[in-house]
């Protein structure tokens, strides 16, 4: 398998009011093309920080984030979905989704942009809400809009920071299935942060466990189950138990 992204020895310290907080202490791993990679770890260990570093929203760190060339020699394009949906409340659903395509960075004609947005609206089943404002949508619909907004620029790598954690189980499963479908359709690589072992096993090809802060990679788990996965399947349950066990262990070590 070919890596599209290599992280090497990423270190990050926050300094606030003279107090330094050692967050990441040398995180290294590869992300392979077309895989779904889940990142797990205790709360506050630096998962969001790591995604922000990959997305180049944060440039104050040590180590290197290296993107490898993919098909026809171009460097892969990232997009990110944030922990909170962060829609622009003054724009309609349509205008939120088309936002990235109207920036100079995306060299897309208006016609092309509109047709892309329309197809995303139907993929995410938001057709009827094209002219609604974010305040008129439910939590699940808002998260779908932010998925569509990130997909509009046709990223090769999609970074997601606990995208579904605020949703009810039914909506969450619906969106997870959508993500699985979209990734096969669009041939994307997905890096997803989650707290939920079941979500990790349902989606991931590989799960990376980060340790308590200052954190580094403590374990990488290969999930060798065929898609679509069945959460009631014994194989599924076994992997989920393995991961839950590790999370529990981390938590108890933490409280000692």
């Amino acid at each position: 398998m070919k890596p599209v992204l290599s992280l090497e020895n990423i270190k990050k310290t926050y300094t606030e009011d003279g107090v330094t907080c050692n967050t990441l202490s040398g995180v290294s791993f590869d992300v392979f093309q077309s895989e779904i990679l889940c990142i797990m770890g205790p709360s506050g260990c630096g998962k969001s920080t790591l995604l922000r570093i990959i997305e180049k929203l944060d440039s104050e760190y040590n180590g290197s984030v290296c993107k490898h060339q993919i098909k026809d020699g171009k460097s892969p394009k990232n997009a990110m979905i944030f922990q909170e949906h962060a829609l622009f409340p003054w724009l309609t659903v349509f205008d939120n989704i088309i936002y990235g395509l109207r920036l100079k960075a995306e060299d897309v004609s208006e016609d092309e942009a509109v047709s892309r947005v329309n197809s995303l609206l139907s993929i995410t089943r938001l057709d009827k809400f094209s002219d609604s404002y974010p305040r008129q949508l439910s939590g699940g619909m808002k998260q779908r809009v932010s998925v569509a907004r990130a997909l509009a620029i046709r990223p090769d790598i999609l970074l997601m920071d606990e995208p579904f954690s605020a949703l009810d189980p039914f909506t969450r499963r619906e969106l997870q299935d959508e993500i699985l479908r979209i990734r096969t359709e669009m041939d994307m690589t997905i890096v997803l942060v989650t707290h939920n072992p079941e979500e990790a096993v349902y989606l991931a090809d590989r799960v990376i466990m980060l340790s308590e802060r200052p954190s580094s990679v403590s374990k990488i788990i290969q999930v060798c189950l065929p898609y679509p996965r069945n959460p009631a399947d014994p194989g599924f349950l076994a992997v989920r138990e393995e991961i839950s066990g590790m999370v529990r262990k981390q938590n108890t070590e933490n409280s000692v």
Partner: protein, 261 residues
């Protein structure tokens, strides 16, 4: 629906009841005192108000004075906005600019605009240019402060989304910072229009003015025509109220998204 409307009507009636009570006490006091130089009767005030196009005290009509004041306020207000909004955006956006400008602003802001009048007269001469300057000074700071606050209220996540989609610095300001700060800017405009309106009346009361609502009030005082003063005060109040209502309606109409997040 019906109970809500009844409720609204009741709330309105409460306010009106107090206004009527005040007017009635005024009229009663006027009838008891019987002295036009202290308290003119309401009928005399309304007599002036219902003939807005007729010359008052041998000068211009009330309408034309109102027009003069409004025109001065509008031009001063617009100039102030044209200056304060960009500066406010800059201060809100750039820490560097803020450190340079903040101390000056904090020192100048508490100065009542009218205190600049002598300087204004020295620089711009007696008359409407000086008044315009005073209005600009008065209108400038509320817009500036609220624009800066508006920029600071822009959520970091929105800017992150924009950067994530590879927006340039200019695009971030144009598509995220300005729209996000707009409710704050609008509040600034509303407050500043009120201040500008007070400034114009005060400035016109000073020597050198030859028209406007402030001028007519001062002029009527010198002639002992208190009913004209009463009429002027009522017009000033009503116009201030109308302007505020228009801004409030705009706020509801354009910024319904605010606070919904």
């Amino acid at each position: 629906m019906a109970p809500i409307q009844n409720y609204r009507i009741r709330e309105c009636l409460k306010g009106f009841a107090i206004i009527i009570l005040l007017l009635a006490s005024w009229e009663a006091a006027a009838l008891i005192i019987q002295n036009n130089y202290i308290l003119p009767q309401l009928s005399a005030i309304f007599d002036v108000l219902i003939h807005p196009f007729e010359p008052v005290l041998g000068g211009d009509s009330l309408i034309s004075d109102t027009y003069v004041s409004l025109a001065e306020v509008m031009s001063g207000f617009l100039c102030a906005a044209a200056l304060a909004i960009p500066v406010g955006l800059l201060i809100g956006w750039s820490k560097e600019v803020r450190s340079y400008l903040n101390p000056v602003i904090q020192i100048l802001r508490p100065v009542p605009p009218i205190a600049w009048m002598p300087f204004a007269i020295a620089w711009f001469g007696i008359g409407s240019n000086s008044i315009l300057f005073i209005i600009m000074v008065g209108a400038f700071f509320p817009i500036l402060i609220n624009t800066t606050d508006g920029v600071n209220s822009v959520r970091r996540q929105w800017i992150d989304v924009s950067r994530m989609l590879h927006a340039t610095q200019f695009e971030i300001i144009k598509t995220v910072v300005v729209p996000g700060a707009l409710p704050g800017i609008w509040t600034g405009l509303r407050v500043s229009f009120g201040v500008a309106w007070m400034c114009v009346v005060a400035a016109e009361m000073l020597p050198g003015a030859s028209a406007g609502l402030g001028f007519i009030i001062m002029y009527a005082y010198n002639l002992g025509q208190l009913q004209v003063i009463g009429a002027g005060v009522i017009i000033i109040g009503l116009i201030g109220l109308c302007a505020d209502m228009i801004f409030r309606m705009g706020q509801k109409r354009f910024f319904a998204w605010q606070g919904s997040e």
